[in-house]
Amino acid sequence: ISTLVLAEHEGGLVKPSSLSAVEAAGVVCKEKSISVLLAGSGPRLQEAASHAASCHPLISQVLVAEADILKHPLAEAWAKLIQLVQQKDGYSYIMAASSSFGKNILPRAAALLDVSPVTDVVEISEPRLFVRPIYAGNALCTVRYTGSDPCMMTIRSTSFPISSISNDSKAGAAPISQVDLSTFSEETLGKSRWLKLASQDSERPDLGNAHVVVTGGRGLKSADNFKLLEKLAEKLGAAVGATRAAVDAGFVPNELQVGQTGKIVAPDLYIAFGVSGAIQHLAGMRDSKVIVAVNKDADAPIFQVADYGLVADLFDVLPEMLEKLPEK
């Protein structure tokens, strides 16, 4: 049994969500036979490859595909690459994290390989038996893959925390090999072009991996008021999230949205200010370990999932918390 993990990299490092996919691969692949596939071009790719080779004890091989067409994560080229690697090496499983990268690419590759993939796996019960949320997490569906190899899936990184990062850099590093791309040409390549990525650079931890998340809803009333939330986040070493209503109102950019169609988070501590608790939002944060809700409306559904609730005006609570919380 061997597993291929499609990995994302940034700044010369494999992304933590991809390492969660390696953890999930470890559940089905007890023996050390997990290959990590990285693609792109330039020195950052090679740095990421060295990182992948030594950052996790379960990784046995790093495959590197270097080509200009793979410089940005275009689904057309990536799906073709996966098909190419699969045809050569015949993996039993192909996995990726349920990030926008994985969700964009993996189903396309699965169609090329004539496989029904499983989206958003939160539990691997048996090698081919998976649990995944449906109806925005209001039900859990257990599915069995009965088709032929490869079995393909995206996993929720919050359900597979990274347990075994190794820091002894060069000891036992996995071999790195280049994917032979000489046959890598197809009419679909070149039909799509990457133009740009507009992102907000932030000093704060990434929303998906932060230990503490503070979220604002429509109750925050303005983009300016979100700055109060940012101050609190700074003090707690937290990431800032938002509800769909707050994003739609233009208070914050879309990448901060937590919920069914936004980011799924499961931090140790989740503090929601002025969040009513629509099911679509709860779907994105219900697995947080401790949930705190601050809302004026005592009937807000968020209180039904909160461990600690404060029925109060967030504009009174926020400054008081800022003042009284210990420095991190």
């Binding site: 990268f101 969700k103 109806y135 599915v143 069914q260 140790d268 099911i279 705190v292 600690y308 404060l310």
Partner: protein
Amino acid sequence: MKIMVAVKRVVDYAVKIRVKADKSGVETSNVKMSMNPFCEIAVEEALRIRESGAASEVVAVSVGPAQCADTLRTALAMGADRAIHVDSGALAPLLPLSVAKILKALAETERPGLMILGKQAIDDDCNQTGQMVAGLLKWPQGTFASKVLLDKEKQVATVEREVDGGLETLSLDLPAVITTDLRLNQPRYATLPNIMKAKSKVIKKVSLEELNVEIKSDLEVVQVTEPPKRKAGVILSSVDELIDKLKNEARVL
């Protein structure tokens, strides 16, 4: 140019779903069904492109049991020109891969310049069909779109996508597949005259046999259960009490 829009009939987004006692699925009888919200956005986007003059016809397509005709009727009432219903008969809900193969077969006869789908259905939350049909057709894909600009002369679509890191912009040669995110547009309501007009529009029925598509079932639902409930929390009276609880009871500070 023709635009094909795929729509799915799902449990209405406002319904609080109930898991069946025998764990075989979610209760769908006597439950309000509607067009998947992401599909409504897809229909709206297709209509706007047609209204801008960049397309001449919008064809709505749905795959599923007989009642899908209602969903198609909604698309027609919104303004789609005609509809195709692929009747899956008594078959259990088809997997996204089979739906993608059906859409591919339809695209090969209809030859649209653009196919628009919702990025996911709010029942199974799969988020797969658009990517799969794009792969099968070898068309470029712009998933999770929050803005679409069509250049009729160059036959290129510029798509802004909602990705984890922010907003990504792609340029796609037509024909292409686009899947919609929530912020792409605000779908219109069907007006009464348009609902009346929709009654005379054509819904063509097509059987799976006619399309000659292989229906695969390589994924089997074993059971559907309720998620574990969070235990009821406590309402506190002050910020001091909250900080104390977080420090000494939950130990997260």
